[in-house]
Symmetry: C2
Subunit: 529 residues, 2 copies
C-alpha cells in the first residue's frame, strides 16, 4: 500500500516525507496496516503558502457562507458516523458506544452547529461603537492558525474537526492541522469529509491543511513562522512549553492546554454527611475514559480522621471493583508508569494498583496513591506530577492549617472542586479555602466532579499557567473560545461604506449584539438626537 497522502491547498498530495509511521491498535498492541508520512519542512511551507492565500479570501466572505460550511460539515460527519466511529475505536480503543457514537461525535457536531449560529449572529467579536467620535472596534481574523490536536479526543479536539479547529474557522481563519500520530486514520477520514464540506460551501479549499506528523524542530519552526497568525495546542506540558517558547520569542499568540491535576478538596462535613455518594462520584470521575481526560481528578485533599480512612478505603474498593480501561496508546501506558514511579519515589504510598495489567493491549491497574500533607509539602512540585490515566493521589492533611498550606502550593489548574456539607458545618472552612483555590483554577466547582466539560457560553476550559499558557482564555465554550484566534481592530474615522458590515450603522440582520455608547443593543446606530 502507498504511504497515505497529506491535504494541502485542497489536494491530496504525496508528502515530502522524512520517514513513515504506523498507528497501533491499543486493544491488541498490534500495528495497523496504513503507513503515514512524517512531513519534512517542505510540507509546512506548502501548507503555509496555501493558508495565506485562503486567509485573504476568508476575510472577505459573508459570514453566512462560513456558517453554512460549519453546519454542512456537521451533517456530513453524521452521514459517515459508522466509519468514523469504527476507525476511531480501532486507533484509540475508546468504546464505540456510548463514548464515540453517542457522546463524542454528537459533541463534535454540536460544536460545529453552535459555532455556525454564533458566526451568523456575530456578537462574539464584541463589536463596539462610539458614535460621537466615529470610532468603532471589533475582533477580526488573525490569520492562519496551526492546530495541534491531542491523543484523547479523536473527534472533539481533532485538529480538523474539534474545538480549536471550529474556533479558528469561526473567527475567519484557515487552519494548518497536525494530526495526532495515535489516530492518523481517523484524522484522514475527517479531512476527507471537511474537504467535501468546503467544496459544497464554496469556501477556499485551502481553508484546511492537514499533515500527520512532524519532526519536533519543524514544529518549533512552524509555530514561529511569520505567516502564521496564532497556534492552538492541546497535549503534554513538555511539548507545550517548547512550542510556547518558540512562539513567544516572535510574539505569536499561542494557546496551550498542557496539564492539570484538577484538585478536589473534600471538607470533613461532606464526608460525614455523604461519604458513599462522594466515593462513587470520585471513583467514576477518576475512571472516566481511563482517566485520560484533561479534567480527571488527579489530586484529592482530605482532612485526617477516621471518616477519611473509611472514605479512602471506600474509593480503593470501588477502583478495585472496576476493570481497567484499555489506554489510548503504549505511550500513555509508559508515561503513566513513569509518573506513578515519580510519585512513589517522592514518598507516596500505593493504596491499590500501581503497575501495568497483564494480557493483550495497554492496561494499567486502577491506581490510588496516598501521601500525608506534611510529606506533600516537602516536595510539592514532585507530588504535582501529572499521572495522565487511571491514577489519583490522595493528600491527607493533619489539620485545616495544613490544608490551606497545601492548597496554597498548588500550581495553576483547569479546575478545582470543593465538596462541603449541606448543614453548614463546613461553611467557615469553605470561606477560608475557596479564595485560595479560586485564583489557582479556571473553573471552580461545588459538590461536583470536574469531568464533563459542557460546551456552554459560560464554560472556562482554561486556567493559570502551567495548565494553559494564558489565564484569560478558554479552549471550550462558544463563542468565548473564538476570541483566542482574533485580533482587536479599531476603525477610526473610516468612511462608512468601507467598514466591516458588523460595524456599520445598520445592525446586520438585526441580531448582532453590539456595545453602542456603553449599552448592549441589537439595534442600529441612531443618528445624533
Amino acid at each position: 500500500m502507498p504511504v497515505q497522502p497529506i491535504l494541502i491547498d485542497g489536494q491530496w498530495r504525496t508528502a515530502q516525507a522524512t520517514g513513515t509511521f504506523f498507528a497501533e491498535n491499543p486493544t491488541t498492541g498490534e500495528r495497523l496496516p496504513d503507513e503515514f508520512p512524517t512531513s519534512a519542512w517542505a510540507d509546512c511551507e506548502a501548507a503555509l503558502e496555501a493558508a495565506v492565500k485562503a486567509s485573504a479570501v476568508l476575510r472577505t466572505l459573508p459570514r453566512k457562507q462560513v456558517a453554512r460550511f460549519l453546519a454542512r460539515y456537521a451533517d456530513l460527519l453524521e452521514e459517515q458516523k459508522a466509519e468514523l466511529v469504527e476507525r476511531a475505536h480501532l486507533e484509540t480503543a475508546l468504546p464505540k458506544s456510548p463514548r464515540l457514537a453517542e457522546v463524542e461525535l454528537p459533541r463534535t457536531t454540536g460544536q460545529l452547529r453552535q459555532a455556525a449560529v454564533a458566526v451568523l449572529e456575530g456578537s462574539w467579536a464584541l463589536p463596539t461603537i462610539d458614535p460621537k467620535i466615529n470610532l468603532r472596534s471589533c475582533l477580526g481574523s488573525i490569520g492562519p492558525v496551526a492546530v495541534f490536536g491531542p491523543n484523547n479526543f479523536p473527534f472533539a479536539f481533532n485538529g480538523v474537526a474539534g474545538g480549536d479547529f471550529v474556533a479558528a474557522i469561526a473567527a475567519g481563519n484557515p487552519v494548518v492541522a497536525k494530526a495526532h500520530p495515535c489516530h492518523p486514520g481517523t484524522t484522514r477520514l475527517l479531512a476527507e469529509i471537511v474537504l467535501a464540506a468546503l467544496a459544497e460551501s464554496d469556501l477556499p479549499l485551502a481553508t484546511v491543511q492537514m499533515i500527520y506528523n512532524l519532526a519536533p524542530e519543524d514544529g518549533l519552526r512552524l509555530v514561529a513562522d511569520a505567516r502564521l497568525g496564532a497556534v492552538g495546542f492541546t497535549g503534554s506540558r513538555v511539548a507545550g512549553l517548547k512550542l510556547k517558547a518558540a512562539a513567544d520569542a516572535v510574539g505569536k499568540p499561542i494557546y496551550l492546554e498542557m496539564s492539570s491535576l484538577n484538585p478536589i478538596v473534600i471538607l470533613p462535613g461532606a464526608i460525614a454527611e455523604r461519604s458513599a455518594k462522594i466515593e462513587d462520584e470520585l471513583a467514576s470521575s477518576c475512571l472516566a475514559a481511563g482517566g485520560q481526560m484533561c479534567t480527571s481528578p488527579g489530586l484529592v485533599i482530605l482532612l485526617e480522621n477516621d471518616a477519611t480512612e473509611k472514605f479512602v478505603d471506600g474509593v480503593k474498593t470501588k477502583l478495585e471493583a472496576a476493570k481497567p480501561t484499555v489506554l489510548l496508546s503504549s505511550g500513555v501506558a509508559r508515561s503513566l508508569q513513569t509518573s506513578v514511579k515519580t510519585l512513589v519515589d517522592a514518598g507516596a504510598e500505593i493504596i491499590t494498583g500501581g503497575g501495568p495489567e497483564t494480557g493483550p493491549g495497554y492496561r494499567f491497574a486502577n491506581t490510588l496513591l496516598r501521601v500525608s500533607g506534611g510529606t506533600f509539602l516537602t516536595k510539592s512540585e514532585k507530588f504535582q506530577t501529572e499521572a495522565f490515566g487511571n491514577a489519583s493521589l490522595h493528600v491527607v492533611v493533619k489539620d485545616t492549617a495544613q490544608m490551606v498550606e497545601v492548597i496554597g502550593r498548588l500550581d495553576g489548574n483547569l479546575t478545582g472542586s470543593i465538596y462541603s456539607d449541606t448543614s453548614g458545618s463546613d461553611d467557615a472552612l469553605y470561606d477560608v479555602v475557596a479564595p485560595i483555590l479560586r485564583i489557582r483554577v479556571g473553573r471552580m466547582l461545588n459538590d461536583k466532579m470536574p469531568t464533563g466539560v459542557a460546551v456552554s457560553s459560560a464554560m472556562n476550559h482554561g486556567g493559570p499557567f502551567p495548565s494553559t499558557g494564558h489565564p484569560g482564555f478558554t479552549a471550550v465554550g462558544i463563542p468565548a473560545s473564538f476570541r483566542r484566534f482574533a485580533m482587536l481592530q479599531s476603525y477610526d474615522n473610516i468612511r462608512l461604506e468601507r467598514l466591516p458590515e458588523i460595524l456599520r450603522d445598520k445592525n446586520p440582520a438585526g441580531q448582532t449584539w453590539r456595545l453602542i455608547d456603553g449599552a448592549w443593543t441589537q439595534g442600529d446606530v441612531l443618528p445624533p438626537a
Copy 2:
C-alpha cells in the same frame, strides 16, 4: 538632602539602594537637586509581599469602594494640579499649558473617573450566565500587577496614575509601580496623592507600591516572580523584549507597548485634491510633543509623481518653519540621533534636519528623511527603525505594485492611516491597500493622523507584534483595557450565596450588562419558565 524614600505597604521607607540618581531638567540640561535611590531586590521583595496581602483584601471589597477611591484620587490630583504641572514640566520640558495642565492632567483624571463608573457598572468583566446548567463566568482579578511607566506621559501613563495603573486597580489588583527615572519627582508627588486617596477611601494602603529605579536584572526577576499576577509595560522595544522573555518563560501575562512607526499611506488622488491640507496635518502630527508620541507618524508612503515632489517639499517647508521642541531627556536626544544615523546609513536621504540643535537643552532639528520604495525593499528591517522624536521617513514608491509590496513588509504597528480623495479616483487602490494594512495595525484610520488617542470604549491602542506583545488587547480605552489584568473564572454548580455578587441571579443595582442565555441584559436571571 536625604535620598528620597520609596512607598511600600503604605509607608514611605528608606530604600535598600544599590545606588542613586538625579533627574535632569531637559530645558537646561542641568541636574535637578533631589536624589533618588535605585532599589535592590530587597525592595521588590517587600513590595511583592505587601501587594500579595493587599490583593487578598481587594478581592473582597465592594466595587463601590474601589470606584470611590478612583474618583477621589482624581479629585485630589486636581487639587494639586499646580504643583504637579510645575514638577512635570521641570522634569520633562513638556509645556505647562496647554499640554500638562489642560490636556494630560484632565486626561488622567478623566481616565480615573471613567474607570470609577465602569467599576461600579461591572460589565467590563463580561459576566456570562448559562442558567440551564448553573454555569457562570466572569473576568476576575489576576493578582498584583507590576507597572513600568514610560518617559513620554508623566501623568497619563504614569505607573501610579496612568492607564495601566487605572486598569489594574479597576480589575481589582494592587500595583507595584516602577517610576520612569526621567520624572521621579513627579511620580513621588503622585504617589503621595494616591496614598492620601487610599487612606480616605479605606482601601488597603498597600494597594500601591512605588519604587524609582531597578537594576535590569531585578526588573527581569520581578516580572517572573510567582507572586505577581501580570505586568504592564510601556517603553522601548529593547527593554520590552527582555521583560517579555522573562515573563513568558514562567507563563506570566505581560502586556507591552513597545514601538510603532504608524505608517501613513497617502494615495495620489488625495494629494491631487488637498495637498496643502494634508501637509499641514502631517507636519503638525509629526511635531506634536516633539514627535515623542507612541502614535507619531514615523513612516509615510507616497507614490512617485510631480505632485508628491511638491508635497514632500511642502512638508519640508513646514518642518523648517517650526521651532524644535525640547526633548524629554538626553537619552531621547541620543537615541534619536542614533536612529537617524541608522536610517541614513541604510540609504535614506536627509531632506531637512538630521542633527542636534545648538544651545541649551536637548533639541534635535525637525527632521525629514526620504527613501525610494526600491531601496526600502532592500533593507526593509533597517528602514523600520523607530526614530522616537521629531523625525519621519517618506518612502516614495514607483508604482502601486511597489506600494503594495512596501506595505506588505511592514511590521506590526499601533496604527495605520490611509488618505484618499473624495471623488472616488483612489477607491480601487484603497481596496487593494486597506486589507494589507489592516492586519498589520491595531487602529486603522481614514483621512486622519493617528496622534490623539481618545479614551473611548472603541479605542484600540494596541496592535500586532512588535508594537505590542499580543494583538488582542488595548492599553487605552475603558473598559476594554481592564481585561488585560484579569483571569477568566468559571463557577460550576457553585451554591448561589457563594457566588460573586455580579454572577448571582439578582442583577446588582440593576445596571450591569450580563450575557444570560446568549442575550445581553441588565435584568435578573429569571426562574425557569
